[in-house]
């Protein structure tokens, strides 16, 4: 039998025949050329870190890496935090809120309301223009407010903040009167959010439904829109005509930077590595595990900004047994070692929260600090008292039922929530509580919550007003298949509802302090939710970037930024 492969099979040490070698070399050559071609396409990657040659503060384009794609650039439409970060540079608001929470005049010079805060009057700054030259006046303000409530706009943020508005009337060019169907003290805080940024009526009408993706000339802030390549990049450039920063800002006139480029880089390790290797000037949303090394890197500057918002808290489904029992919920709270949980996951970025709102939110009740502690013995005792005895497998049982806490969470993970879930599971196992974790998409989580298919779920809301408690605990917002709401603790308490309504209907500082203190203490006493940490916004820049400001709610502000 002839061995067909003989010609090409070689014994060890035998060289290949010449023709074969030539063909082989040709193929190898082709491969190497391909490799060389690829390498030649490379070269040192440029960085956007170009300061002005003469070393002055003016100029340069700041390149910022964002973690996700904004859902639009029309302040009346958007609902995501990342969109607000970008629009914050493009649109000015009527009022600003300083880091200490004080309200500061911006495009509105002064404001007042009636006794129950159902009618608000705003006096506007004179001589301000939009980026397309349209004068800023009372009519423009009412235009912006009314369009947020129009059904065709599909507003996801502004429309909610202005929902109780009944009418907006003008008196001359610089006075606006807004009437609400009920007392609405949170209106003042709403005016400071990027969701109520002022857009030019002329530009909005001209662009129509395209304004959300192409808001050309429509802004009122220090930067104007150039271009948005979806899922890739947003380009802004300095608007030379800007001259109305909030009162008390250290400089006026146009911004220092000549432009900002926002790139969308969803993969956290790539985003962070790109800043470390000087491919971007700045990036948001740090990996907690790299925080320490980045902090120590003298070529970088790190910022950790506590957001004025609802804290990240675990909400019990208090409508479902056995978690409708306050003492049982307290036993869970006692069994959680929050400092060690936060330390191992967040490496010092997130701090323990004691209330349902962050310490820098107005009317935060500081008496709640350290009002409970990690106490396994206390937890075990409570559980024993309630009749839950240790059964097989180390979990507690009562009348044949294992004490189970079913937790639902969203995948892909945001802010290491899934790690929090895992640590929670381990810690509660120590006292005999079985935690089952189910990860699902955001839409599925909302469906599970609407149907009550959960015992506990993590929640936070990015509203900087204490009125965020209304959305989280008012019985009107209990989620159901027919109506979506954020009262995920299923709280239905008439006294609380009344307090929350009172909190909206007065502007008296002392009354508000006492109302919100009562609310926070009631929530803490009933352990409807367990606050875990204060959400923090993280940002890292090259050391050559100076003057980054952060809004009260945690958004970066590049008006005073310059690059050396």
């Amino acid at each position: 039998m002839i061995h067909m492969q003989r010609s090409f099979a070689r014994k060890r040490g035998e060289r290949a025949p010449l023709g074969q070698r030539r063909a082989g070399i040709a193929l190898l050559g082709l491969l190497s050329s391909a490799a060389l071609l690829l390498a030649a396409c490379g070269g040192s990657s440029g960085s956007g870190n170009s300061g002005s040659a003469s070393g002055t503060k003016q100029g340069g384009t700041l390149t910022v890496a964002l973690a996700s794609n904004p859902d639009g650039l029309d302040p009346g439409v958007i609902g995501t935090h990342v969109a607000e970060e970008v629009t914050n540079q493009m649109y000015a608001e009527l009022v600003s809120q300083s880091p200490s929470g004080t309200y500061v005049p911006w495009l509105a010079t002064s404001w007042s309301s009636n006794a129950n805060a159902s009618v608000w009057t705003l006096n506007l700054k004179h001589g301000v223009k939009f980026q397309d030259g349209t004068p800023f006046n009372a009519a423009a303000v009412c235009f912006n407010f009314e369009r947020a409530l129009s059904p065709t706009l599909q507003s996801k943020g502004a429309g909610i903040l202005l929902a109780p508005m009944k009418s907006c009337t003008t008196s001359g060019d610089y006075k606006v009167t807004v009437t609400f169907s009920q007392g609405y003290e949170p209106f003042l805080n709403a005016l400071t959010t990027p969701l109520l940024g002022m857009a030019s009526p002329t530009a909005v009408k001209k662009q129509g439904s395209n304004f959300n993706v192409d808001p050309v000339d429509g802004g009122s802030g220090p930067f104007e829109f150039v271009k948005w390549v979806q899922n890739d990049q947003i380009q802004l450039k300095r608007w030379s005509g800007y001259d109305s920063p909030p009162a008390g800002t250290s400089h006026s006139g146009a911004a220092y930077l000549s432009g900002i480029t926002f790139d969308i880089v969803p993969e956290t390790s790539v985003r962070m590595g790109s800043v470390s290797s000087n491919q971007y000037d700045a990036a948001e949303d740090m990996l907690p595990s790299t925080y320490t090394s980045m902090k120590q890197n003298s070529a970088l500057r790190t910022y950790v900004v506590n957001e004025a918002a609802a804290t990240y808290q675990l909400a019990f489904n208090t409508a479902k047994a056995p978690w409708n029992n306050t003492q049982l919920r307290q036993a869970v709270r006692d069994a959680i070692d929050v400092p060690s949980m936060l330390g191992s996951i967040y490496f010092g970025i997130e701090h323990q929260a004691w209330s349902t709102i962050a310490p820098n939110v107005q009317y935060y009740d500081s008496s709640l600090a350290n009002s409970w502690k990690f106490d396994q013995a206390e937890s075990n005792q409570l559980l024993q008292q309630l009749g839950w005895t240790t059964g097989s497998g180390g979990y507690r049982q009562k009348q044949g039922t294992t004490l189970t806490l079913s937790l639902v969470d969203v995948s892909p993970d945001t802010n290491s929530d899934q790690e929090v879930d895992t640590v929670l599971q381990q810690q509660l196992k120590q006292v005999g509580i079985k935690v089952t974790i189910t990860d699902m998409t955001q839409a599925q989580e909302e469906a599970a919550v609407a149907q009550g298919n959960y015992d506990i779920v993590g929640i936070t809301l990015g509203l900087s007003s204490p009125n965020v408690l209304n959305f989280l605990f008012n019985s009107a917002f209990v989620p159901s298949p027919k109506s979506f709401g954020f009262d995920w603790a299923q709280v239905d308490n008439a006294q609380l509802d009344q307090l929350l309504a009172q909190g909206q209907a007065t502007t008296s500082d002392s009354t508000l302090t006492s109302i919100y203190n009562s609310i926070q203490q009631m929530i803490a006493k009933n352990v409807w939710t367990i606050p875990l940490y204060v959400p923090a916004y993280t940002f890292v820049t090259q050391s050559s970037v100076h003057g980054i400001g952060f809004e009260y709610a945690g958004y970066p502000d590049f008006y005073s930024t310059w690059m050396s």
């Binding site: 193929l27 794609n69 995501t80 899922n231 880089v265 993969e267 790539v270 790109s274 909302e446 109506s483």
Partner: protein
């Protein structure tokens, strides 16, 4: 030939329609409410939610919703995204180029590297070159793309500064993502080409050619490569499919635009019109690519040409 092409295209139509129906109903039957997803993070009053539901047409029976979608689709209107409000056709159009760029580049790399390496491995069977290339083949097809992608970024971008880590743009932005995407396909193609080349080399006519006095080089270039190409065409056609799905991961890791990452995003956000439009588009693309592969068979393999022409199958 023309009849064959037309018949294949005609069969493709019910396929695409079937896919769109299945996807539509799956999307609507899965738990999760697109209005809630669109509002994610924003507290809303019931009136706002009802308004949005009416806007999106979600309060009508599901078959009515599908019928309206189908009618509009036939007129080239795939609806508007729930999230940005843009026309679906323009969203897809804007992002399509980047994915095509990436897929074509990866396919080219796969073809060139896979083919050359596979033939080389077969020619030097048993030697160090063969062992090395087989190792590369196994490694390439086994390693997950998000890992190889990040490794490539760490070495060639963060350390060596040869290429940018993220973004969409010219050739420089394409190299690392294309390599990362192509690695799996290259691994598979090397193996298949090596095997088909070895099989070709074992044919009696190769010995006959040697006996005729043809040089080794000429045998390889004129005879072996042509025959090795036949399974290569099948493999490459199948690989287009896996390249498209790999593009989802690669586009996310490298922060690139494209319909892969767009599809994942829109599914998570329950952006029904965008998901429908993307699936419709991808299904149509598959049908066309498969048709092109089948037609190209006829040019690569003369035996297929006869078969196609005589009985149109």
């Amino acid at each position: 030939m023309l009849e064959y092409v037309l018949r294949r295209l005609l069969i493709g139509v019910p396929l695409v329609v079937g896919v769109s129906i299945v996807v539509f109903f799956i999307l609507h039957l899965l738990p999760g409410d697109p209005v809630a997803a669109a509002l994610a993070g924003s507290p809303a009053t019931p009136s706002v939610i009802h308004r949005l539901e009416a806007e999106y047409g979600l309060n009508r029976p599901i078959w009515v919703q599908y019928w309206e979608f189908a009618v509009h689709a036939l007129h080239g209107d795939l609806g508007r995204s729930y999230i940005t409000g843009q026309q679906v056709t323009s969203v897809i159009g804007a992002q399509l180029g980047a994915t095509v760029q990436l897929t074509v580049a990866a396919l080219a790399l796969t073809a060139v590297i896979g083919l050359c390496a596979g033939v080389l491995a077969a020619m030097y069977k048993g030697g160090p070159v063969d062992h090395l290339l087989r190792l590369v083949s196994v490694w390439g097809s086994a390693m997950p793309q998000f890992w190889t992608g990040i490794m490539l970024i760490i070495v060639f971008s963060f350390s060596l500064h040869w290429f940018p880590a993220a973004g969409t743009g010219g050739l420089r932005y394409l190299v690392l993502p294309a390599v990362s995407l192509a690695l799996v396909s290259v691994g598979i193609v090397i193996k298949i080409i090596r095997n088909s080349t070895l099989e070709t080399l074992s044919q009696p006519y190769i010995i006959a050619l040697e006996a005729k006095g043809l040089s080794r080089g000429a045998i390889i270039v004129r005879h072996v490569l042509r025959n090795a190409l036949i399974p290569a065409v099948t493999v490459l056609g199948v690989q287009v499919g896996s390249l498209l799905s790999g593009a989802v991961i690669v586009e996310t890791v490298f922060g690139r635009q494209g319909i892969g990452s767009l599809l994942v995003q829109s599914i998570e956000q329950k952006d029904y019109p965008l998901v429908q439009g993307l699936i419709l588009f991808i299904a149509a693309a598959y049908v066309i690519v498969n048709l092109v592969v089948d037609i190209s068979y006829a040019y690569v393999d003369p035996r297929m040409r006869v078969a196609v022409d005589t009985d149109g199958r």
